[in-house]
Subunit: 355 residues, 4 copies
């Protein structure tokens, strides 16, 4: 949709129509009292908007079609559901992923893994490779961390969600991970997005700090267009002027994403607040707003954590969170599997094959 | 707290200590490996920070005390509760205020008022004076609008929440309003804040579009310091880069405010989203996050609304919202009065005296 | 421009066309492969967009006309120029307004006024009424401050720019002020905007902390539509996530405003940075970007200032700023009057009449 | 610096002091009327702040030392200067890098390269690998694009600035590039930052869309700590609520960076505005604010550009920009080499060796 200036001449309008038609597109003119608007109607292929911006008489360009396609509900009206630990991500049950920010040691990981499982988590998170703002901060245990995650999975049956930070590590990390996490800082690392797309492994895609909802869906499009349909989106807070919390939870994004896309949407209340005191309340808000799940940082001893201790819950507080979430889930017509069922499901699904 | 540069000299440090002591304050020095930090310790009176910023050797100033006092939980650990329509705002019951953005006509207001009352609202909102971005938009019915609000109150018993836009109108508006609303655009109109403070009337103070939580509490401080304790704070969305919704609901602000202040906190999901489709989900999120109430735009015929039609609920959708909120309220250990009780309460409190 | 959903039915489209025509507007249909777009063509009166948002089949509404009219270059292609102290604001010469944040005392104001005049300022700023975030901060000297400004004008001949904070004070403040300043926090105080519009006095309108360029122009429209053409706009920094400076100077807004409006545009580098060390560089940037002038905080003794000391320049640094600005002005084909000429001009314009 | 709550007990304070001392750090207590503050004094190693946040009685933590070291002026008071095409980046002369957003074809690149050289550019930019929001947009010519850049360098002598998007491509891209560009979306791709650090090749590091100045310096620290000192920083606009331009040029960041770091700082006015009409004015503002150079998008035929056509200058407008920049540079005591000198310098430096 090309909006002409109020003083655009007939010749200028004619020149634009010619250019549109030379591109095998159709032009629809709409002449108002004030100005003319030219609709550019195509066959579905993306149109190079910028080519019109320089032409004389053009005021501005307003895009009409949404730029994402495979991720849209219009393309795929049925919700995407994919299995995780005997559950359906995006189904009627709420999925809770929990665990430490970083894998720090065998005892830290195993203690935390058992604790979150008992409290009712259905998957274990833990970073082996950590993107850190400072080169002087702890960068993760690397492969050793992946091996510890494998051991935790063996002991608990919990599937593993862990971050992959670069294209070249995808093949290694996918051997250990049930879900590949793309971190917020890499949301627009397109080489990496294409690589996890090709991996055909389930992906948890975190929204970037300053990514719009549309940007997030465009990044999902990179994965989907590589024929990988199993993507869950994660709101984890955006950067705003408010500084009483680490980030601003964009709670609106939950129902907006549920309206725009068929992909499951979860919330990370640990990063989106940055303070453990607020995590439970915001987790409740997320489920009340329609999120399909949560990813929560839990540490067996947050005061000793090498990263994100301030936003990690102790296991006992996480157990309280699960109880509260159960109540909210029921109030919105959904449910949480109870811890016992989960463990049995683990045995069925993972116990033999992966033990 | 004055942070000196790493290369600050003894003389520079001495000069600052002298200035502090000349101001009848105490200086506490803390010398690290890298730099010296000077704590300025006072007697509770605010300290003019800027006076130190120009002095040689100073790197920056870090304030330690919070700038609000009367609004803080540290000053007043007990939560503020005040009565509205037989309910306690800030108490265990959730308060729902509903009604049209603007009072447009007698039939519009009365129909909507009856509808929201039947659905379970405990107070009626409606703007008689409207702050509009454009001088060409409908600016409200003014005094005529206030009179219609009085008629709606007479018929339904619902107390009235309506905006006052300027200091000189406070005395008029308070004759009709049970709660004086300060709109987001006027959150830092200090003449107005002082005037509603002096009015001794209950106040609903909306957060400005780009106000921090601390700014909001400083504005409340203007009202409280005029000896008016009955202030409820309202999160109504902040301005960010995200443009899929009109504003970004800062859901974090709900638990943050509940931690910092003793004042009741409510949410306006209509303005914080700007789209009626998202209002119910975000209202649910607000109560799940710990809000004490909601203020919701409802219009008997949103397609004909003169303002904010796109974010207004129809009465039947509002009734659904109330039902959903009841479920969430119970899940977080709170409750909604049922519609019948409210009407009876109205009769007790307002029926005779105001009829 | 109404964008229909991709699955909108013929009946839904028909219903919208009927509604448009019932409103005495014209509908232009544009049918693409994917969806239909309906242009709503009017006669220049503003269209109530919201009324269409609720209708079945509507995806979203895209406004085409800009909402401001009198402020636009399309309405008035010739630049607005108005006189100040023998200069033309918006003309080829750069206007520099300088002085203290607040009027604090006779000696402070007079010393600073003489100093900025000698350095080359063409007008004196100084706040008598101060909007302060905290009720416990210095709120200005009030009428006494206005009287001191009058004395400074008598002694130096410099015209006075001072803030008016509420509608009811306009008639008082205009007796002392040559230019009425509307502060950032009051940019959307519409009662006040209308009042300064009616005053027929020149106005300096500061952009709000989170106002878009369009919001600023809409606020100017309130003044212009009250038949007051003499408005200069002031960029003073916006609120963003960046916290190394007090605000973020939106330097882009200078050329954007110069393209959209005929009104003069100035920059306040003191508030837009918040640190005196950066004021001169950002002042230079503003003139290089095309600003018509500057408003700069200068204090004879910033370390003792009761407000904004950290961003105020000492008189000698302000003199350096003027020298640098002269160089930049010449590099962009403009000029600064030299200090001597200014003083003579003062004598002509103000010496006799106001002395 | 640990700020205790006002009601913290002696035991809580004691527990924190013990923990500090157990970590081989020193605790300095500062007791005020209201609360106690505990300074944690170390030996320069980073302190794990989070470990204190969970302890009873702690209100918040305020970091005192800046988290970047090698990039700071305190560490290295002398400005970093490194050679490019016979010029000194960071020296008294302004460096202008220009060229197309993407390399699209041989004729497009060569025409543009000759045009920018004649106009006075000292280096050629052009993307062979393009990070694009949409998987359906043109992604660059890849290796073929690098070969065309090599041909352009051979013909014009201009050194090449081009983006590297992933760690594994560093060794290939550095064979063609004189300066490796890290794009805004990859500013926190730490694998990539370490890789370009190890490459020992000059780096142009662009600020991320929502990165603070401190985040940018932390990313530079990744490169510097890999013993690569030749880093130039590039402001290219940040994401804010303002939408009249594509991004908001953070002009304040220029003098702020010049104060905090010894590294050269340049501005990209093409991305920071997103509209060719504003590029020249904002380029002028950047140099006036103290930038050491510019990187500007120029295309021989912007209306046909495959990316960023709307913000690209035509060669003749770029020539005007250079003329204007020359004037501003002189006004701030710097200079531009004149085009002739540049060509001769090219012959000296690159003519024989690279021809």
């Amino acid at each position: 949709m090309i909006i002409m200036k109020t003083n655009a001449t007939k010749e200028q309008i004619g020149a634009i129509v010619s250019r549109i038609e030379n591109n095998q597109l159709n032009a629809h003119l709409s002449k108002g009292e004030e100005r003319t608007i030219i609709g550019v109607v195509g066959d579905g292929r993306p149109i190079q908007q910028d080519q019109f911006l320089h032409l004389p008489g053009v005021d501005r360009i307003v895009p009409i079609s949404r730029p994402f396609k495979l991720a849209s509900r219009e393309f795929n009206p049925k919700r995407t559901i994919f299995p995780l630990n005997g559950l359906e991500v995006g189904g009627s049950q709420i999925v809770i992923i929990a665990g430490p920010c970083s894998v720090e040691s065998r005892s830290q990981l195993l203690e935390t893994a058992h604790a979150v499982q008992e409290a009712g988590a259905q998957a274990l998170r833990g970073g082996a490779f950590k993107p850190r703002t400072s080169p002087y901060s702890f960068q993760g245990l690397g492969i050793k961390g992946l091996e510890l995650l494998a051991e935790a999975k063996e002991q608990t049956g919990l599937p593993i969600v862990t971050e992959v930070m670069s294209q070249e590590m995808v093949s290694v990390v996918k051997q250990y991970a049930d879900v590949l996490q793309i971190g917020a800082r890499n949301m627009q690392n397109y080489s990496l997005l294409s690589a996890v797309g090709k991996s055909q492994h389930p992906v948890l895609l975190k929204r970037g700090l300053s990514a719009t909802v549309e940007d997030l869906l465009m990044s999902a499009e990179y994965i989907l267009s590589n024929k990988n349909p199993n993507v869950m989106l994660c709101e984890r807070g955006i950067r705003t002027f408010e500084n009483s919390t680490r980030n601003t939870t964009d709670i609106n994004a939950i129902p907006v994403l549920q309206a725009l896309t068929h992909l499951p949407v979860i919330l990370d209340p640990s990063h989106s607040t940055g303070h453990w005191e607020y995590v439970t309340k915001i987790a409740q808000a997320g489920i009340a707003a329609g999120a399909d799940g949560l990813i929560v940082e839990v540490h067996n001893n947050p005061s000793e954590a090498l990263s994100d201790g301030g936003q990690s819950l102790k296991p006992e507080r996480f157990a309280e969170l699960v109880t509260h979430i159960r109540g909210i889930a029921e109030a919105v017509g959904r449910s949480l599997p109870n811890p016992k069922e989960t463990i049995e499901a683990n045995v069925d699904v993972f116990g033999m094959g992966n033990g």
